[in-house]
């Protein structure tokens, strides 16, 4: 009681000082270890850095490119980004290489006044005169977004089912295990192709993500379930039960904090898997035809034979972005693996 009363009488300055000290303790105990850990786990840092750089590039590019440019194709309201969707760059029916590529030969002869300025089309245009820089800028977040939606849903469904199965056991466990075993053994892509064909409609990016999660959660569920099974045998879980904690309290207060590394690792793996699957589906022509996602660009590349046409800029840039996404996700998941593997962790 005395402590509470005195706390009310504190001056602002003391309060600030106290808060600062509290933050200092918090920083030392919880934040600083993260940094010192980062030094020992370079792959996590490099992976996060690569992904961050890609996002930074996209955001900056969109800010620069997103300004309204009235001269484009006579559609005054559109930004250069939107010009893609609505039908192309000002130079109609011209397949331009990246405009900074002075040594590239133009595939189509251009009039003198049609010559683009040095950075007008940094990644060239495609056969339908779409600005490929704008296409890729739009495509990266769309593809990442599909993966993110799929990853979040997969891990969410996976974690809940894993807890229901592993903590409560019994009939739900049997059912969920049956479902995951079947789900893992049947190729999810096949199911998605069938569903997509049956539906007949095009799936927009988040619908595609949700669809991928519907077949992808089984992997998360499997991973988390095995960890819950390990954790529930830990003496401290039994001690918590004997301390009067309820089942839900044990799950959220005792087990969840220790599962975060596994859930995060499973999330990253799920994002990577979903992106791969989404690109695969789109490349097969099962994506949203009005969407400029990276996978759809791959589809158009195949469709128009960009490689035989010698239009390297059409396939090279999306490919580079896809590679960056996968390498960074791989590095992150390798780093998280090291984090969540207690044996490796204790050594560090």
């Amino acid at each position: 009681m005395a402590r509470v009363a005195s706390a009310r009488n504190l001056t602002m300055r003391t309060r600030v000082r106290l808060a600062r000290r509290r933050f200092g303790v918090f920083y030392q105990e919880r934040i600083e270890p993260i940094f010192s850990y980062g030094r020992r786990n370079p792959s996590l840092i490099v992976g996060l850095g690569m992904l961050g750089a890609l996002l930074f590039f996209t955001v900056i590019g969109m800010l620069v490119y997103g300004r309204t440019e009235p001269h484009i194709a006579g559609r005054a309201q559109d930004s250069r980004l939107d010009a893609y969707v609505s039908g192309g760059a000002p130079v109609q029916d011209k397949r331009l290489p990246p405009s900074w590529c002075t040594w590239c030969e133009d595939i189509v002869e251009l009039e003198a006044d049609e010559k683009p300025s040095l950075f007008q089309y940094p990644m060239g245009t495609d056969t339908q005169s779409r600005d490929l820089f704008a296409t890729n800028l739009r495509g990266i977040p769309l593809t990442l977004g599909t993966g993110l939606i799929a990853g979040l849903l997969s891990v969410g469904i996976g974690t809940i089912t894993a807890f229901v199965a592993a903590y409560y056991r019994g009939v739900p466990d049997v059912l969920i295990r049956l479902l995951t075993d079947v789900g893992i053994s049947i190729p999810g892509l096949l199911i998605l192709i069938i569903i997509r064909i049956q539906l007949g409609t095009e799936l927009v990016w988040w619908q595609l993500g949700a669809g991928l999660a519907a077949v992808g959660w089984v992997f998360s569920s499997r991973t988390v379930r095995s960890q819950v099974l390990v954790l529930r045998e830990q003496p401290y879980v039994e001690i918590a039960r004997q301390s009067g904690m309820s089942g839900l309290a044990i799950i959220f207060r005792e087990m969840m904090p220790n599962l975060i590394p596994y859930i995060t690792a499973s999330f990253v793996a799920s994002v990577a898997g979903s992106i791969l699957a989404s690109i695969g589906l789109e490349a097969l022509g099962l994506g949203d035809f009005s969407s400029p996602s990276l996978g759809m660009t791959v589809y158009w590349v195949i469709q128009f034979g960009a490689i035989t046409l010698g239009m390297w800029w059409w396939w090279l840039f999306p490919l580079v972005f896809i590679v960056i996404i996968f390498v960074s996700l791989f590095l992150i998941s390798a780093g998280l693996d090291e984090w969540s593997n207690p044996r490796l962790r204790r050594q560090a």
């Binding site: 830990q234 003496p235 039994e238 001690i239 918590a240 004997q242 301390s243 009067g244 904690m245 904090p257």
Partner: protein, 345 residues
């Protein structure tokens, strides 16, 4: 008699379901045992790994239920407890585990294990009272609150961690504590203090203690009675000094003789035979018959009953069928000694 817990002819098997090709493993085979509240004792359950000692403890703890036989908590059928009774049971049975590190959630500070039971069981009315309770409990196990509270478990020594677990049990004041090899992972020099604080829980607060161990020397030091288990059966039980210093069952004799004595003049006898039947559960008769030096025809035919050898001892062995009667009440606790009288506690 007010029995806190009572097991009647309890058998617990694992595996061997309808789809399994292997026979079930009998971890505990027909054991009757009660824990009496009015005469709190320290009872050791001793045996090798796989003898069923931990399964018996988990039955007493209520984490598993018997496959056959019945289990009662304060006279009520354990499988049909009301919500209130279940809640009380949870508070009244506490355990201390072998691995003092695994008992702590690495995510939280040491305080977590002490504060949670107080909060959940509403043991203290104010924050002040809570702090006093924790400090008193730590003092009783010989720890300074300043050295322990506010730290993460890995910052304490193994001995400190285990003593905090004893302090936790002290806070909750349960009726029964199950200590599963509490000192086997602690440095030898710290064992004495931990065992001593467990003994104080029994002698000063009146908590019944079940001490599970394979180390018979510490069993002799702290307990009143002992159950020696072999392949799920209690082959011999009774007053601890009688059983350990003058074992009657051939298995107990082998066990005690095999403890490597640090005395070069007192060497082991001949190499004892190994078990011949790995799938002993399908076997009739005495489970030790295949290794027993005194085996008789009857041993292979029928499982030996509990022969009441002397006031505070029984053994499941036909060697004593002529001199001893079979126990009237199968409850092993009926022949336990109550040492409190002689110890003036």
């Amino acid at each position: 008699m007010s029995d806190f817990m009572r097991l009647e002819h309890v058998t617990r098997t694992f595996g061997g379901g309808a789809l399994s090709t292997k026979p079930p493993i009998v971890a505990v085979d027909d054991v009757s045992l009660s824990i009496n509240e009015d005469e709190p004792k320290i009872t050791t359950i001793a045996g090798e790994s796989g003898s069923g000692k931990t399964t018996l403890a988990r039955l007493l703890m209520g984490t598993i239920t018997p496959s056959f036989g019945s289990m009662y908590y304060r006279g009520k059928d354990f499988t049909k407890l009301s919500r209130k009774d279940s809640w009380n049971f949870k508070q009244e049975v506490q355990s201390i585990y072998q691995d003092p590190f695994g008992s702590y959630n690495p995510f939280y500070k040491v305080d977590h294990v002490l504060e949670t039971p107080i909060n959940r069981f509403k043991l203290a009315t104010s924050r002040q009272a809570k702090n006093t309770m924790i400090e008193d409990a730590l003092a009783m196990v010989g720890l300074q609150p300043g050295d322990t509270l506010g730290r993460f478990p890995h910052q304490l020594s193994g001995g400190q961690r285990q003593r905090v677990m004893v302090a936790r049990a002290l806070l909750i004041k349960p009726r029964l504590i199950l200590a599963d090899e509490p000192v086997s992972m602690v440095d030898a020099s710290l064992r004495a203090t931990i065992l001593d604080s467990i003994r104080r829980l029994n002698r000063e607060i009146g908590i019944s203690v079940v001490y599970i161990t394979h180390d018979l020397t510490t069993a002799l030091q702290i307990s009143d009675n002992i159950l020696v288990m072999y392949r799920g059966s209690v082959v011999e039980s009774g007053a601890v000094e009688r059983v350990i210093l003058e074992p009657k069952h051939p298995y107990t004799q082998l066990l005690i003789e095999s403890i490597p004595q640090p005395d070069p003049d007192n060497k082991w006898g001949d190499e004892p035979p190994t078990a011949r039947f790995e799938d002993f559960d399908t076997m009739f008769g005495c489970k030790f018959a295949d290794r027993c030096p005194h085996v008789m025809d009857i041993c292979a035919e029928e499982h030996p009953p509990q022969f009441h050898l002397e006031q505070h001892r029984q053994a499941q062995c036909y060697l004593y069928r002529d001199e001893a009667k079979v126990m009237d009440d199968p409850d092993l606790a009926t022949i336990f000694q109550d040492r409190r009288a002689e110890l003036n506690v």
